[in-house]
C-alpha cells in the first residue's frame, strides 16, 4: 500500500471560461451513500447567476457568428474530450451511488449525444429554414436565429447526459447557456467545466452552476437578459411558478428533456424572414 497522500480536487463553478468559487463562499457537502465526505462543492448564488448571465451575453453574439460547421467541429471536440474523461466522470457518478454499469452507460450516451448535435449544427438551417413562394417578385427567405442566452435547468438525477443533453443542442443553435444542476449531478457538472474548457468552446458560451434549483431558477426566470429557460430538470413543485415568471419579459419556456430530435433543435431557435426584390 502506497503511503502517498492523494491530491483532492476542489469542485468549483464554471463562469466565463474560468473556475471561480461561489461569490457567496457557500459550499454543499457531497457524500457517498455510506456517508463518507467526497467534496464541498460550490453552491451558486444570485450574484453568480448575474455573473454567468453577463458572461453568456458577452459571448453569445460572436458564438452565433461562427459558421455552423465550426460550431459542429467544436461540439465534436467536446465528444472527443468527453470520451477521454469517461472513466473519471463515471467514477464521480459511482461515488454518489450510481451503479457502475449505469454510470458508464450515462457517459457513453452523453458522448454519443454530443456527436449527434455536432452533426446537427450545419443541418438546422436546412431543416427549419425555407424559401417562401410569396405572390410577387421577391426572394423571401426564412432563416434560423438563436434565442440568445438560455438558462437550462438540468435534472439533478440526470448524470452527465442530463447536463449535456440540454447544453449541446442549445449551443449547437448558436446560443450561450447558463446551466444549473446539483445533488447527485454536482460533481460531474463541475467536472464538465473542465471538458468544455478544453474543447475550443469560447469562454462564456457555456456556464455551469452547481447549486439548488429552487434557489437559483427564480432568478433566472425573472432575469430580463435571459431569453429562454428550459425547465426539463426543474422540480415539479416550482415549474408552474417559473413558467408564470417568464411572462414578465416573455422569455421562452421549454422542456426538451434532452430528446435527440428536431423538436429539441427547434426549441432553441427563432425564425427571421427577409424580403428582397427580384425584379428589374
Amino acid at each position: 500500500m502506497s503511503d502517498r497522500v492523494e491530491v483532492r480536487k476542489t469542485y468549483k463553478l464554471f463562469i466565463g471560461g474560468a473556475f471561480p468559487r461561489s461569490e457567496s463562499a457557500r459550499t454543499t457537502a457531497v457524500t457517498a451513500p455510506d456517508g463518507t465526505l467526497l467534496a464541498h462543492v460550490a453552491t451558486a448564488s444570485r450574484k453568480d447567476v448575474r455573473d454567468a448571465v453577463r458572461a453568456a451575453r458577452g459571448a453569445q453574439e460572436s458564438w452565433a457568428g461562427r459558421t455552423p460547421y465550426n460550431r459542429g467541429q467544436i461540439l465534436y471536440r467536446i465528444a472527443e474530450v468527453l470520451e477521454g474523461r469517461a472513466a473519471q466522470l463515471a467514477g464521480e457518478l459511482e461515488a454518489v451511488g450510481v451503479p457502475a454499469a449505469e454510470a458508464r452507460a450515462d457517459v457513453e450516451a452523453a458522448v454519443d449525444g454530443a456527436v449527434y448535435w455536432a452533426g446537427f449544427a450545419d443541418k438546422l438551417e436546412q431543416l427549419v429554414g425555407s424559401v417562401n413562394p410569396v405572390a410577387g417578385p421577391f426572394l423571401n427567405l426564412s432563416s434560423v436565429v438563436p434565442m440568445g442566452v438560455c438558462a437550462l435547468a438540468c435534472p439533478d438525477t440526470g448524470g452527465v447526459r442530463g447536463v449535456l443533453g440540454l447544453v449541446c443542442p442549445a449551443i449547437m443553435a448558436g446560443n450561450a447557456v447558463v446551466a444549473v444542476a446539483g445533488g447527485p449531478a454536482a460533481l460531474v457538472t463541475s467536472t464538465l467545466g473542465e471538458v468544455v474548457a478544453t474543447s475550443d468552446v469560447p469562454g462564456g458560451v457555456v456556464n455551469l452552476l452547481t447549486g439548488d434549483h429552487a434557489q437559483l431558477l427564480p432568478w433566472l426566470a425573472d432575469h430580463d437578459d435571459v431569453d429562454q429557460i428550459d425547465l426539463s430538470g426543474a422540480p415539479a413543485g416550482i415549474a408552474a411558478d417559473l413558467r408564470a415568471r417568464t411572462a414578465e419579459n416573455l422569455k421562452r419556456a421549454s422542456a426538451t428533456h434532452g430528446a435527440e430530435d428536431l423538436r429539441t433543435a427547434m426549441a432553441f431557435c427563432e425564425i427571421r424572414t427577409v424580403w428582397h426584390p427580384a425584379s428589374i
Binding site: 460547421y69 465534436y76 456527436v115 446537427f120 450545419d122 443541418k123 426572394l139 426584390p277 428589374i280
Partner: protein
C-alpha cells in the same frame, strides 16, 4: 496605378517587378510514394487478376511516379461482390449513429494527414499546392464531416418520406479534383448506408488509394469502400455491371452519355455531373476590382480544369475596354510554374493530351480571326504548361464559345441589356454554373431566375460547401451533390404511412 492603359511596356515591366519572388517549394518527404499500387478490394490490396498495370505521371515534369494496377471486368466483379457482401452483412443494417462514427473518424484522420494528402495530390495531378492545401483537402474533410452528421438523421432528409439505402454504388471520378470528387461521392453514399466500388481517374489515382488506406485506419469494415483503378474500360465495366444498383459519374459530357446508354437497359439509378461552359455576366455598375479577381479565380483556378469554370465572360459594353485592360494586366501577375511552389497561381496541365486539346481550341480561334492575348511570362521548360489566355473578337458561334476547353482560356463577348446577357449566357448546351456581377441585389435575383444553370454565384465564383447542392441542368448532367438534396440521390424513398 499611374500607368495608362496604353503604355504596354511600362505595364509589363511593372507587373514583372511585382511578380518577382524567391521560390518556396513544399517538401515531398511527407508522403512515401511506393513504386507500385494495387486495387483495394474487400479491405485487401491486390494486383489485377491479369497483372496489368499502368503508369501515373507527374504533370509538372512528365516523369513516371508509380505503377498502378489496371482493373479489368474480373476485378470489377470481385469488387462488386465484396461490396454486396459488406452491404448485406454489415453496413446496410448498422445503426446510423454507428455509421456516422466511422465517417467522423475519416474526416478527422484526413484533417490529421492533410499535408500528406495535399502534397500527393499536387504531385499526381499538377494543381498548385496552395489550392490542394487550402481548398481540395479541407473541403474533402468537410464533406466527410457534413455527411457523417446526416447518417443518423436520414429521417429528416426528405419530408414525408422514409429513406433506405440503395445498395452497391459504382462511382467514377475525374482527374481535376481527384480527392475532393472522391469525398463528394463516397461521403453521401456511405452515410446513407450504401457500399461503394470507386473507379478514380487513371491520371490521378494516388490520393483515392491513400484515402482507402485511411478508411482502413478508421476501422471502416472491409468491402464497404473498394477502389478499382484503371482507365475508361474499367469504368465502363463498372457502369454496366449488373450487380451495381446505382452509378454516379463526374466527367465529360461525352462519357456521361455513354454511361447513360450503358445503364439504360437495366434502369440503374444514375447521377451525372458533366461539363460546363459557365458565363460571368458583368454589369457596368459592378465593383470592378472584385470582378477581376472573381473572373481570374473563375477561369484560372486549377488551370481551368473545372467543370463549373467561368470560361465565358459577358461584359456590358460601356465597361468592356476598362475591364479587359485590367484583366490583361492581372494575368501578367499570375505565376505559372512548379505546382509544389507555394507561390504558384497556375500549375501544370494535367496531361499531355489535355495540353494538346487546349492548344487546338486556341489555335482554331486565332485562325478564325479572334484576338488571343496571353501572359508573356516564361513557362517552365519541362512538363505540361499553358499560359493564362484571354480571347476576344468573338461572335458566340465559335467552338471556343460553345465547347468546354477545360483549360486556362477565357472567351470574351459583350452585351447591352439584361435580356441580351441572359440570351447569350444561355446559348449553350450546358447548364452548370453562371456568375452575376452587379451592385444591385434585385438584378442579381432577376438574372439568377433566368440563367439556365444549376449554380449561380453572385459577386463571387467557384464557392463550394458540403451544405450547398451542386450540379447541372441540361447537358451538364442531372442529380445534385451536397446539401439535403444530394442525399436523396443515395436513398430509396417511400412514403411515411400515417
Amino acid at each position: 496605378m499611374t500607368t495608362t492603359p496604353h503604355d504596354d511596356t511600362a505595364t509589363a515591366n511593372l507587373a514583372r517587378t511585382f511578380a518577382d519572388y524567391a521560390p518556396s517549394i513544399e517538401g515531398r518527404d511527407i508522403v512515401a510514394i511506393r513504386p507500385r499500387y494495387g486495387l483495394m478490394i474487400d479491405g485487401e490490396e491486390r494486383d489485377a487478376r491479369d497483372g496489368a498495370v499502368f503508369s501515373t505521371i507527374e504533370p509538372a515534369n512528365g516523369e513516371h511516379i508509380a505503377e498502378v494496377a489496371e482493373g479489368a471486368a474480373a476485378d470489377v466483379d470481385d469488387a462488386v461482390a465484396a461490396a454486396r457482401r459488406a452491404y448485406e452483412t454489415v453496413w446496410r443494417d448498422m445503426p446510423g449513429r454507428t455509421r456516422a462514427k466511422y465517417l467522423f473518424r475519416m474526416a478527422r484522420l484526413l484533417q490529421d494527414r492533410s499535408r500528406e494528402f495535399a502534397v500527393l495530390e499536387t504531385i499526381d495531378g499538377g494543381k498548385p499546392i496552395r489550392e490542394s492545401r487550402d481548398v481540395d483537402v479541407p473541403l474533402a474533410a468537410a464533406h466527410l464531416f457534413y455527411h457523417a452528421g446526416w447518417a443518423d438523421k436520414l429521417e429528416y432528409a426528405v419530408p414525408g418520406m422514409t429513406g433506405r439505402p440503395i445498395g452497391v454504388v459504382g462511382q467514377i471520378t475525374p482527374w481535376n479534383f481527384p480527392l475532393l470528387m472522391v469525398a463528394w461521392k463516397i461521403a453521401p453514399a456511405l452515410a446513407c448506408g450504401n457500399t461503394v466500388v470507386l473507379k478514380p481517374a487513371e491520371t490521378t489515382p494516388l490520393t483515392a488509394l491513400l484515402l482507402a488506406e485511411l478508411a482502413a485506419e478508421a476501422g471502416l469494415p472491409p468491402g464497404v469502400l473498394n477502389v478499382v483503378t484503371g482507365a475508361g474500360a474499367t469504368g465502363a465495366a463498372l457502369a454496366a455491371h449488373p450487380g451495381v444498383d446505382k452509378v454516379a459519374f463526374t466527367g465529360s459530357t461525352e462519357v456521361g452519355k455513354a454511361i447513360r446508354r450503358a445503364t439504360a437497359e437495366r434502369g440503374t439509378r444514375l447521377t451525372l455531373e458533366l461539363g460546363g461552359k459557365g458565363a460571368h455576366v458583368v454589369f457596368d455598375d459592378a465593383a470592378l476590382d472584385q470582378a477581376v479577381e472573381g473572373i481570374v479565380d473563375g477561369i484560372f483556378f486549377n488551370q481551368g480544369h473545372v467543370c463549373c469554370a467561368g470560361s465565358r465572360l459577358l461584359v456590358q459594353e460601356g465597361i468592356a475596354d476598362e475591364l479587359l485592360d485590367r484583366l490583361r494586366r492581372r494575368i501578367e501577375l499570375l505565376r505559372v510554374g512548379d505546382p509544389l511552389d507555394k507561390n504558384t497561381d497556375v500549375g501544370a496541365i494535367n496531361s499531355h493530351a489535355q495540353l494538346e486539346r487546349i492548344r487546338g481550341f486556341v489555335d482554331e480561334a486565332r485562325d478564325d480571326g479572334a484576338q488571343v492575348h496571353q501572359s508573356t511570362r516564361a513557362l517552365p521548360g519541362k512538363g505540361f504548361y499553358f499560359p493564362p489566355t484571354i480571347v476576344t473578337g468573338l461572335g458566340g458561334s465559335e467552338a471556343i464559345c460553345r465547347e468546354e476547353v477545360f483549360g486556362p482560356v477565357l472567351a470574351v463577348q459583350t452585351f447591352r441589356t439584361e435580356a441580351e446577357a441572359v440570351a447569350r449566357a444561355n446559348a449553350t448546351r450546358y447548364g452548370l454554373s453562371a456568375g452575376v456581377w452587379t451592385e444591385k441585389g434585385s438584378r442579381i435575383l432577376w438574372m439568377s431566375q433566368r440563367l439556365r444553370a444549376g449554380v449561380v454565384w453572385a459577386n463571387s465564383f467557384n464557392r463550394f460547401d458540403p451544405a450547398s447542392p451542386f450540379g447541372g441542368l441540361r447537358e451538364s448532367g442531372f442529380g445534385r451533390e451536397g446539401g439535403r438534396q444530394g442525399l436523396q440521390e443515395y436513398l430509396t424513398l417511400s412514403p411515411v404511412t400515417a
